[in-house]
Symmetry: D4
Subunit: 222 residues, 8 copies
Amino acid sequence: MTGPHEVKLDLERGDRIGLGEAVLAEPKSVAQLTTILERTTVAGRPILLTRLTAEQLAALAPEWRARLDHDPVSRTAFLGSVAEPSGAARVAVVSAGTSDEPVAAEAARTLAFAGVPAICIGDVGVAGLWRILERVDELRALDVVIVAAGMDGALPTVVAGLVPGLVIAVPTSVGYGVAQHGRAALAANLASCAPGLVVVNVDNGYGAACAALRALRPPDTR
Amino acid sequence: MTGPHEVKLDLERGDRIGLGEAVLAEPKSVAQLTTILERTTVAGRPILLTRLTAEQLAALAPEWRARLDHDPVSRTAFLGSVAEPSGAARVAVVSAGTSDEPVAAEAARTLAFAGVPAICIGDVGVAGLWRILERVDELRALDVVIVAAGMDGALPTVVAGLVPGLVIAVPTSVGYGVAQHGRAALAANLASCAPGLVVVNVDNGYGAACAALRALRPPDTR
Amino acid sequence: MTGPHEVKLDLERGDRIGLGEAVLAEPKSVAQLTTILERTTVAGRPILLTRLTAEQLAALAPEWRARLDHDPVSRTAFLGSVAEPSGAARVAVVSAGTSDEPVAAEAARTLAFAGVPAICIGDVGVAGLWRILERVDELRALDVVIVAAGMDGALPTVVAGLVPGLVIAVPTSVGYGVAQHGRAALAANLASCAPGLVVVNVDNGYGAACAALRALRPPDTR
Amino acid sequence: MTGPHEVKLDLERGDRIGLGEAVLAEPKSVAQLTTILERTTVAGRPILLTRLTAEQLAALAPEWRARLDHDPVSRTAFLGSVAEPSGAARVAVVSAGTSDEPVAAEAARTLAFAGVPAICIGDVGVAGLWRILERVDELRALDVVIVAAGMDGALPTVVAGLVPGLVIAVPTSVGYGVAQHGRAALAANLASCAPGLVVVNVDNGYGAACAALRALRPPDTR
Amino acid sequence: MTGPHEVKLDLERGDRIGLGEAVLAEPKSVAQLTTILERTTVAGRPILLTRLTAEQLAALAPEWRARLDHDPVSRTAFLGSVAEPSGAARVAVVSAGTSDEPVAAEAARTLAFAGVPAICIGDVGVAGLWRILERVDELRALDVVIVAAGMDGALPTVVAGLVPGLVIAVPTSVGYGVAQHGRAALAANLASCAPGLVVVNVDNGYGAACAALRALRPPDTR
Amino acid sequence: MTGPHEVKLDLERGDRIGLGEAVLAEPKSVAQLTTILERTTVAGRPILLTRLTAEQLAALAPEWRARLDHDPVSRTAFLGSVAEPSGAARVAVVSAGTSDEPVAAEAARTLAFAGVPAICIGDVGVAGLWRILERVDELRALDVVIVAAGMDGALPTVVAGLVPGLVIAVPTSVGYGVAQHGRAALAANLASCAPGLVVVNVDNGYGAACAALRALRPPDTR
Amino acid sequence: MTGPHEVKLDLERGDRIGLGEAVLAEPKSVAQLTTILERTTVAGRPILLTRLTAEQLAALAPEWRARLDHDPVSRTAFLGSVAEPSGAARVAVVSAGTSDEPVAAEAARTLAFAGVPAICIGDVGVAGLWRILERVDELRALDVVIVAAGMDGALPTVVAGLVPGLVIAVPTSVGYGVAQHGRAALAANLASCAPGLVVVNVDNGYGAACAALRALRPPDTR
Amino acid sequence: MTGPHEVKLDLERGDRIGLGEAVLAEPKSVAQLTTILERTTVAGRPILLTRLTAEQLAALAPEWRARLDHDPVSRTAFLGSVAEPSGAARVAVVSAGTSDEPVAAEAARTLAFAGVPAICIGDVGVAGLWRILERVDELRALDVVIVAAGMDGALPTVVAGLVPGLVIAVPTSVGYGVAQHGRAALAANLASCAPGLVVVNVDNGYGAACAALRALRPPDTR
């Protein structure tokens, strides 16, 4: 009764706000995903799928699977022609523990989809403070530092106290008990004692990367 | 027994992360505030006081009151020599309703303290959508747009869907019932359907401005 | 010991409050559902099943399955004779994203069960504001607009600021992290800055449609 | 620095969505309120102030106080020419306990500001069920029933099970402990077992009345 | 290393507080359950298992399964000799909807385990108020009424306003969205406007029955 | 506009559910309280006021103040003829700390209003376990034990593990931080490991006493 | 009716668990406090009052005020003979910001009441990480480090990653918005990535000091 | 694209804070776990894996499985040479119910990994108070008592009122409804009326043991 799936892609988004088309795959049906892939192919534009589950990937038609550039750690996939990142990195993606890696990888892949190179630094949680301190000089030279951390979410505050660039905290759902699926880290990041730390939703590596792209946007595209 | 108030100002913060010294006045005693003002004067550096209550201001010694550049709407005060903002504005501070004005003003004053000019646009909540739509072209030309909104927090999402620059949402504590002192707006901003919207704590106009300063930092200071 | 399932259908509900019999299927056992189908058949009245899972449908006896008018997207089923919707639509069901479609479809199917035609408009979330703006004139002519949106729940507020009819927000559980299974959207809808927006429970497309039916009830049936 | 108070009245709201201008007074400064009163006077339109505190009223200039039609129970005030309600009542405002009276009164005054007559029924909480049962026939004849109740919020559900019209629940902040400033009643109303009950924010009598006005809107104004 | 399962049954509980031994089975391993069954058999006392899952039942040794008096709806099992309930019922177990039946059945089975007869009344939720009203005279003659209801939890309040005996509310986890696994009903029950309503944990039919047994305890056992 | 205060006393409540008329004074205006006192005087029935603030008491007309039997610790007042409690106590009111005394006193006064004698035992919190253990024999002989405790709410569980009668927990708002105005104690009481503990709202000494009266009701009044 | 204040001091607590008598003054009436002071004087034991408000202090009889050793920052008072702290410090009390000072002072005063010397280090929050790093060697030599921090609560985690002794986190209520009166810091401390960090209630400097005393207890007193 | 798993073990942690290397296995991939096992083997250090699921264990290469000392109840595994615990026990691990056993076992295994012997006492919840009372003398002689309890979390408070050593509460996720996965027990432990009780995250037996190791650390290692 509700007819064919209504999918209204916002293909002018790139022109309007400078970000390519992207789709949160997880809550969508395979039929909806297929419609989306068809439309973007017809429109001749690349698209980024985030949170594509293994089950969704397996259920797509083989021809679509073959055309996707899929990364299992970040659960992202590119469709269409994406330029290789080039130039010196102006962004870093830092994560506190190995369990935070998928979220950091989602951010890094989103930057790569936009052709922006990034430095990745993992496993530098504050319980072993020396690990982040030995990378500070490198981070101080960058425009944007994305920091993914779960549990107590202490790392973004420590980084924001050490570097002058824009620091974007991505609380992750890593942890248990009061960590409450990332809410403890989220609250800690928002209540940070370091000035100017900004925050995105729990596990939203994609959003952090989009914010970085907004901040990095070269003057000539405005 | 606990001795004289221990106050350890972080006067090198400016060198380290490019932001001047600032103090959240509200939870501090007048004795603590006085010590802070004395130390910064001795150090020859300007300082920004935020959330300075009328009672605190009145309780300060008259000579300190006389030397403060105080703004009652934003509840901020400058001590020391602060340069006039100059150059074309690259930042806007937008607020949804008249009740959000103090938070927006805190952001604008923090930018002014750093010598950064800002465009202020008030009373453009989404219930009367035409109000924000007629300012979009102006906002699209800027690097950073700070958006303060309470209640449902819908304005930052609408703005982030319309402009390419960095959009920083400041949820405010305006509202009642489920607005829960800003928590509804905060959640809405973090869960935004607009890609790349970043968020600071409820009513944290100061933090939003610091994030803008991090993003605007000219390359030569790095 | 607890005997045969006690099922007391409220078959006079239609006479009392003008709404047909409906059952929330999901928490019920197949034995309970079967008893309900038998009783309504005996009573000669149609019934609407909502949130009927694929597992429940498969576990029903084939003769019941054959007699159900089942819609997989909305997870609803009609049993019994249901009149085709007729007349000009006085209601619209609007949804923000493709993931909100099942909730919107539940509302639309509930209206159809009552013989009320509805306009369906999907994928018009506020991150691409032009999508809803181009439908405003159409919506302004209607009595009731049901708006289903998850994540930040911004769409119902925007619609309620643009149209004069009754606007019923249905927050959906679409989203992750602070979206908290629809609670962010719910809070945003209740705290809306648009006057007169009313709200139903998360994902309650059925309830929104019932409210529309209450509002639309023709004077001669009173 | 922040200049004169920016107040952008949405004076076309009446034309756009059929509701007059109204202002939530409580969070506004007296200067802001005065600006608002001046602007609406100049525009020649009536305005409704809600949640006007006794302190705010006392602080307004005497000439403004004299021109306001103020009601202390509902904390509302009208400025400008407001027509007397006329015609048969199509709306009732029902409240559970005497402590819920201010919220019910806010709804009734909002309806009066729009020229819509309403029946008021107080002190009919479900702990003494006979009180509401003896008014059911009267309520069944109406288009809209607004029900204000705090504590357990049971009354709106009971009413919605008995009458066919649109039932709008207004949870109130009456209660203590787990009543949590209205959150228990709010949750109960949203989770109601009565189909089609709609809900507004805690204590939002104004919003409930606006929803009633949207539902009652005569066809010729569309 | 942690050795054999330490299980310290409180077999004197019956003497101390008048309630037989009972065990919440769900969080226990099959090894722990087996140890418990062995110990109580040796001690020659009956035991009540609550929340025994189908998986646990299937995993028990066949000889244990054969000796258990198991009821699938309430997920309870008796081991050992249990007297048939006798005498006139002084307790009723009332439930609002068919989905609340398992919780009501747990209460009824706990009473049966103690030899106490109970009247069971199902499917009498307040959305169809006539259903409970026609049973009020019967309930007014009893000492204790246990009322299980999920969603808005309105039924216990309505019952407590109509009968003079002890009314024990058991909020159930039936519902979705803001019903939040029974928390809306729980809050409504605790915030009830009916005086003297007492409450147990969500879905705790066992606890409600134990409270009834405490209240019913004949004087000669004291 | 909203007319004289509508106050609909439920004077038949005593006949219906065996509890006298009582009013939660705190949220009511002095005008409302005066109307209530007048009506009950006319009806010739006693009334219990709970949570009567010192400000409310002072604002009542002197003739009313003179006629009230007021107790400042429990903040209760009786109006009208109340029989002295007589007979052996069948109820105890136990409290954990001196700060819980007002809540316990509200329960004791409610029992006294109904002519039911009670044993009061204070300052027996579990941090000094010997204090409650030396009173256990006394408590084991009673029908009902009301236990008021804030902070961790451990006392009701300990008591319910030691005595066979009905144990009613009244969590109190004593405590700070995570005690959250009684919510920690409330949750602990509901999640109690002692079987059959029942619970009322935070600080609801009145409700606990009403539940005791329901449980104690002699058979001949039924 | 409720008779003289029942106050049952636990004067054997010192013998039982090695901690002197202490009383949380804030929720107690002046009459209760006076009774407590009288009893401890009669018993010849010292007592520690915590959270004694200025209003309570002023309301005590002058002779009691004169005998109290009162500290306004920590809001504590000693009554009776208290030995001077002596020996090398084995405990440190560290605080993140000047606003956390009262909580740290409560811990330090509690230690002083027990005759235990402590090192106090203030204003070393992680936003200026050099401040704590320059004190690490000193802290590494101690048995217990108490760390009081509000806002994001990052400091206890950083300290626990750097020192081998027992680290006790005291989240403080400093902060606003999502800091939620200390709940963000509390959650962060409990979810800490540093192993073995233990936590007490928000603002509970007294409890942290008691835990330190338990850990420091010399073997000969056991 | 995200390259080989970045795993930065903190192998100097033992030297820095006296605790061996440990890894929370549950959120890690098998590839990450394998890398960790390889690195620690190369470094010649033992490692403790906690929360190792049966699925993870089964997925490890057989040679790794063969080398792990795995305990299924506590879900822990040791790799490398671990000394047998020796000497008199100075720590006890106490648990309230059989369902709390896995958490207590995690604590005991962590102590064993560090060579520290511990007394284990299970099934001594406060509903049968005699069970803990008969072990008090034994517990009073120890330095540290770890107490694991879910549901109402009353046991740690009772223990802390009876023994002089450091008492560490580990709330467990045992329970349902308002027990909310351990949050009720956690809040009760933090709000405890027993002075000096310290708390770790829900189910964090590992953290409690680490805190005990910090407190027990012999002076000569400092």
